[in-house]
């Protein structure tokens, strides 16, 4: 019954907008997704499992998840630092740098890919000095981590910044007046407050890195068992017209993606409830 399903309101347009939304959602997202799940189901459980757990697939999961984890970890450290510096300090060009943090959102992945590869090539701006130090970035897992760090850079910064901005100075002043050193105050008062937001940023950066394709394939070696990321394995299987293999691995990735989506939603809930402004709590979905 209508009144049990939604709260009545004099605002019109519910039927129209909800109908349009669900229609469009089905056409663009749900129906195509179902086709994928249907195809996966036609494979049969045992073949599906074999495809998902083949040696090459597992090696690709190691590369993808391992490098994504490393990149997200880098981003949580430097992201926290960046947010801190951007919120708490002032220095010339701060506004410019602050705007630039969003570059990985706006820059196409292919452009990022070729740029990073050029920078770290053996005769590149950073590649040459690094090579002199014995560090190979191009065509190695390190290169993959570098690319994924770029891609996930804004996430931690942008989730932590609002929380830092809203942090009450009184808390820190209180701690200081009680005799805590600066480091202690930061560690015991500030960090725990921004931790949920940082974790959310970490999860977002990780989720984005796992699915990334364009930025990575130029700089990675794409060698099976060593530097082949899972999305590339899917593309290779498609090129071989092994639709079954491609679908199986894609479904495995989808499962992980959905799990991450749920985790992130939970984290955001927690983060919003822990220490956010009223406005952000009102804006929190769910």
């Amino acid at each position: 019954m209508a009144f049990a399903l939604r709260r009545p309101s004099i605002v019109p347009g519910f039927g129209l907008t909800l109908g349009l939304t669900i229609c469009y959602l089905s056409l663009i997202v749900l129906i195509p997704l179902s086709a994928t799940l249907w195809k996966a189901s036609t494979l049969g459980a045992v073949p599906f499992w074999h495809l998902v757990t083949s040696a090459r697939a597992i090696a690709s999961y190691e590369v993808t998840f391992g490098c994504s984890l490393a990149a997200a970890a880098t981003n949580i450290v430097f992201g926290l630092l960046t947010a801190w510096v951007l919120v708490r300090y002032s220095f010339p060009l701060k506004r410019l740098l602050d705007s630039l943090v969003d570059l990985p959102f706006a820059l196409p992945t292919a452009v990022a890919g070729i740029s990073l590869t050029s920078i770290y090539a053996s005769n590149g701006w950073l590649g040459r000095p690094l090579l002199a130090l014995g560090v190979h970035v191009d065509y190695t897992r390190l290169g993959i981590v570098v690319a994924l760090t770029f891609v996930g850079l804004p996430f931690v910064v942008r989730t932590v910044q609002p929380v830092l901005e809203d942090l009450d100075a009184e808390l820190e002043e209180a701690a200081a007046s009680l005799g805590a050193g600066r480091l202690q105050t930061v560690a015991r008062v500030v960090l725990p407050t921004i931790f949920p937001a940082a974790l959310t940023g970490f999860a977002l950066a990780f989720a984005r890195a796992v699915g990334e394709y364009g930025s990575v394939i130029f700089i990675a070696g794409n060698m099976p068992m060593h530097t082949e990321i899972t999305p590339l394995l899917i593309v290779t299987k498609l090129e071989e017209y092994d639709y079954g293999g491609a679908t199986a691995i894609a479904v495995a990735m989808l499962v992980v993606s959905f799990a991450m989506l749920l985790a992130i939603n939970v984290l955001q809930h927690w983060s919003n409830n822990r220490g956010g402004s009223d406005e952000r709590e009102a804006a929190a979905h769910g």
Binding site: R7, P32, F105, W125, E172, A207, L238, L261
Partner: protein, 291 residues
Amino acid sequence: MADVLTWNAPRAAEHRTVASRAITEPRTVQWCLTAIVIAFLAVFLFLPLAIVFSTALRTGVVAFAKAFTDADTLASIRLTLIAAGIAVPLNVLFGVAAAWAIGKFEFLGKSLLITLIDLPFSVSPVVAGLIFVLLFGAQGLLGPWLVAHGIRIIFAIPGIVLVTTFVTFPFVARELLPTMQAQGNDEEEAALTLGASGWKTFARVTLPNIKWALLYGVILCNARAMGEFGAVSVVSGHIRGLTDTMPLQIEFLYNDYQYVAAFAVASLLALLALVTLVVKSFVEWRTAHGN
């Protein structure tokens, strides 16, 4: 999931007045941290931008301009504009409708709907492309029917438009939603009780309130639509001059060792990215300084 994509309207007069020395770090620590962060951002953000323009102009402006006289490159620019030109308005329409339905009403299943809208964000672009190949490819679910009717979706322009729409699906909706929710229904209800029709209320009351969020959503959606690589790569067929978008053309030129041309095309997209960032800053500034 995309909370981070919303610009956070800075609170007015938000400057943190640091009164006591007890709650700031020693100067040296401040400088150290600032230096580290600047170095990190320089390496990861500034260098890639710099190398795009530096390589594009490496052999002079003439070579740079010549890159855009190539027929295939021009075709790729045209295709990118078409794909974005269709995907963005469609997603705007959807985004406004979804934000209205979710933002102005309370109903069962709202959370589920939001999660479903978020889905394309969490899907790898390659998987997004695969999804459409499995549906519309000649060996896919609808394949036989499409072939029988001579309709080409995969390896043709409609497929590219479809995947572009898919991957940019949530952008506008997720930008508008927090704003619409934060603003509540009060103004709309007031207008309605004063006798305005639904459409008029929307046009005169809602739209002006969400115009900055909408602008930012459109710009972001457009940047992503024009830059999409993985998903389009899977469905395009890579027919030069026909189904290569700008990112695919960049890949082709790069793999063909035509570095200057590749980076020249890339510089266009990099410029677009910079415009996106500028618009974002502008929107934030306008919101902070009186809306």
